[in-house]
Amino acid sequence: MSANDLALAVTVTVMVAGAAGTVLTSDVPRLVISLGTFLLGVAAAFLVMGSPLLAVSQVFVYVGGVLVLVLFALMMVRRSGDEKPKVATRHDLGAAVIALGVFVLLAAVLGPVAADPTPVVTAPNEVGAILLGPSLVAFELVGVLLLAALLAVLVIVKGGEDS
């Protein structure tokens, strides 16, 4: 096993451990920490696969943005009288069977054809050249989508205040 395969195995293990913690814990702080572990594992996987720009974006957008958003939302919707906030869960055999079926299906379809990637180190300026060149339309559309999402959030929150 090469050093790259070992690094990939470690990052994927961190991802799965974080995902398992997010799913199984009923403790709110542990859920946030587990989600953060998963997101950092994803960033590390991007780094090992040779894409430092994606890794940094993942840390900035998810660990620095979405995770803080989740934390704020949890703090806002928890009543101060709650002694120890718990995440309500209804563990169910049917859901476990469905999730297991999804895992078996994905592993059976992707496992044989998806060999582990050989890292291709991509400099950020190469990604920029693609985004502002052949993918310019997609790049601009994402900008419009972000603006629409920003306006939607403002409208949704304002609507909640009015009622």
Partner: protein, 98 residues
């Protein structure tokens, strides 16, 4: 193979979270698990098939931005729904509007 199995496991755990969690924010966390696992699998699969690293990265970056926008709108909906109804459990929401 390791990445494919790991991403499949993380995605399945996300599916399980979406199906079993009753708290809306925890359901959104499950959706984030699925999006993250799918994005890693996308990059790994493209690179293993000889894809151009720059094109793959730009594609994954766009997916990442769209997922972040989805999370922001989702959180706004959760906070607004809580302010209107004082509830965060999905089975307590009995109607779509009103």
């Amino acid at each position: 193979m390791i990445v494919a199995i790991g991403c499949a496991a993380a995605f399945s755990l996300g599916v399980y979270a979406v199906l079993t969690r009753r708290d809306v924010i925890a359901i959104l966390a499950g959706a984030e698990l699925m999006l993250g696992a799918a994005n890693v699998q996308l990059v790994a699969f493209a690179l293993s098939r000889g894809g151009d690293g720059a094109v793959v990265s730009s594609f994954a970056l766009i997916v990442l931005v769209i997922a972040a926008a989805e999370a922001a709108v989702g959180m706004a909906l959760v906070v607004t729904a809580y302010r209107r109804t004082r509830r965060t459990l999905v089975d307590e929401f009995g109607e779509v509007s009103g």
